[in-house]
């Protein structure tokens, strides 16, 4: 069930120049949140911002009743959020959207490919897959080292591979040029910049690998009512907020082929 709730910020970490993370405590009974689902955050005291901002859930601790968000500062809304401090409240509508498929058989092999802020939802996903005994290879990329906001957090959940376009961290080149990318997997998940996801999807499709992508579009309602955030799927326009943000690439041929 979706709810509107005021969370309390209990931790804030700067993650390099462009990113920060917030840990939010519910204080009561937090609704279950599946990997790949997102929240809509109310931005207060910022006159240029009216609409909520959709932000993917980075991590969840159901027992502690906390969730964390990894946020890239890209505009007025996220800049205002970056000024919040421990003890401040944040109003969320959550959990929203259709997340990643995680019911893989134990022993399956999964590749998680993240770029930039798209790394965020992959931690929650990697944790859930690890709990199901899925072997994860986690491939994270960015233009340069400072644009890969987190990586050590992933170490307990799989084999970590890094790439940067300039070679400042890990393998030099795009994620699809990393040797780990060429191996075979039962499932490929990806979230990041659109050109990266399209390259991952095209390659997965060519190799016959099952693949899910997490899309990001400008949103208003977040619940599939306003139809502002649509993407052009093989079945016509579908809401990224409700039918996605995670889509199986078998429904997105038009999207990844162009």
């Amino acid at each position: 069930m979706k709810e509107i709730h005021n969370f309390t910020i209990i931790d804030r970490q700067q993650r390099g120049e462009h990113y920060f993370s917030l840990v939010l405590k519910h204080g009561g009974h937090m609704q279950p949140i599946a990997p790949g689902q997102f929240v809509e955050v109310l931005i207060e005291d910022e006159p240029r911002v009216m609409l909520r901002r959709p932000i993917s859930v980075h991590d969840v601790d159901p027992e502690a009743g906390t969730l964390s968000l990894l946020i890239q500062i890209v505009g007025n809304g996220t800049r205002r959020l970056s000024l919040l401090q421990v003890g401040d409240h944040l109003n969320l509508v959550y959990p929203l959207g259709h997340g990643f498929t995680t019911d893989l058989p134990a022993g399956s092999r999964a590749l998680l490919v993240g770029g930039g802020a798209g790394i965020a939802p992959l931690l929650h996903l990697a944790k859930e897959l690890k709990a199901k005994d899925v072997q994860c290879t986690i491939l994270l990329g960015g233009r340069t080292a400072s644009l890969i906001p987190v990586c050590d957090e992933f170490l307990p959940y799989g084999t970590l591979c890094l790439t940067t376009d300039d070679g400042s961290l890990g393998h030099k080149g795009l994620v699809v040029s990393h040797p780990a990318f060429a191996e075979s997997y039962d499932m490929v998940y990806t979230c990041g910049p659109t050109p990266m996801m399209k390259a991952v999807a095209r390659s997965a499709a060519e190799r016959g690998l099952r693949c899910e992508v997490s899309l990001e579009n400008m949103m208003a309602c977040g619940v599939g009512a306003c139809l502002c955030c649509v993407t052009d799927t093989d079945q016509g326009h579908r809401c990224v907020c409700k039918d996605g943000p995670v889509f199986d690439i078998s429904t997105l041929k038009k999207w990844y082929q162009c």
């Binding site: 609409l51 579009n217 009512a225 306003c226 139809l227």
Partner: protein, 299 residues
């Protein structure tokens, strides 16, 4: 205390939701008690399935947003055979927003909705700014507006609300024309035609270049138009445009609206309609108002 009537419709309170901002109601069921609403207007329904305009369809602007969804919907047959059966049990006024590209299409949709027992009214959308054919084209000319309303009137027998566009020189002339053609009520305003440009990319934010402006930015324009129309027609006026608090709703009521619709504010706070109803009750209690009709049109 909050009961109002729009023609034959009896509303528990004046608070409804605006077409295109509330889906089919069910999208908001986790956040609001749908049966507490005076009513809700389901999204624009056309004769056949429509895909709407290409993405991007939305841009945030100061105290508002532009949209260019372009009437994406599954078509009237899908509404009647699927959606209607999921929502018809709700004890509130479910009103279908009817759109089209031709008079024939408006009439065909209206006729099919007329057959649905639990839909007591339609809102005829002659004001959508985001479609190439029809839509606002019917709502900007008094003769065209009267023509489509009188043709729909022949096939539709329940409460006929006509939604007006603000993108005209005189909204009063259009309101009088549709009243004369048999409308039972008018709702206003639809979105204001607007435009925004991304200067970094040097191109418009919307795929359609222009779109409809909604949100608090349009409220003073909407209040003014409701006041003008309420003084010029005998049929009840439904006010909308940027309402996000009970005080906003009260402005429209005092300006002459019998009921109001909440639109864009649903995106910011999905439970805002409940707060507005609470706020109206509180206002009546604080001011010793026994019947909200006593303050309607006092300006």
């Amino acid at each position: 205390m909050l009961n109002v009537n729009i023609h034959n419709l009896k509303l528990k309170n004046p608070v409804m939701t605006a077409s295109g901002t509330f889906g089919y109601g069910e999208e908001f069921a986790d956040f609001v008690d749908l049966e507490r609403l005076g009513g809700f207007i389901v999204k624009g329904t056309t004769g056949t399935h429509r895909e709407g305009n290409p993405y991007p369809r939305m841009a945030e602007t100061p105290s508002g947003m532009l949209n260019a969804v372009g009437l994406q919907n599954g078509g009237v047959e899908k509404f009647c055979s699927e959606v209607y059966h999921r929502i018809k049990h709700l004890d509130t006024n479910i009103i279908v927003n009817v759109s089209g590209s031709s008079i024939e299409e408006y009439c065909s949709v209206a006729e099919q909705i007329d057959a649905l027992d639990k839909i007591p009214a339609i809102e005829l959308n002659i004001s959508c700014p985001n479609v190439k054919k029809g839509g606002m084209g019917f709502g900007t000319n008094p003769d065209m507006a009267a023509q489509v309303v009188s043709e729909v009137r022949k096939v539709y027998h329940k409460t006929l609300i006509v939604k007006l566009t603000p993108n005209v020189t005189s909204i009063v002339d259009i309101a009088k024309a549709v009243e004369g053609a048999g409308a039972d009520s008018v709702s206003l305003i639809n979105t204001l035609l607007g435009m925004a440009i991304d200067v970094e990319r040097q191109r418009p934010y919307l795929s359609t270049i222009t779109g409809g402006l909604s949100g608090p930015a349009v409220k003073p324009v909407a209040v003014r138009m409701v006041w003008q129309v309420a003084h010029a027609v005998q049929i009840p006026v439904i006010g909308l445009g940027g309402i996000s608090t009970a005080a906003d709703a009260l402005e429209f009521l005092m300006a002459g609206a019998k009921a109001i619709q909440v639109g864009t504010a649903n995106f910011v706070d999905p439970a805002v309609t409940m707060k507005i109803i609470d706020g109206l009750e509180d206002y009546c209690n604080r001011h010793g108002i026994k019947d909200i009709n006593d303050i309607i049109g006092i300006i």
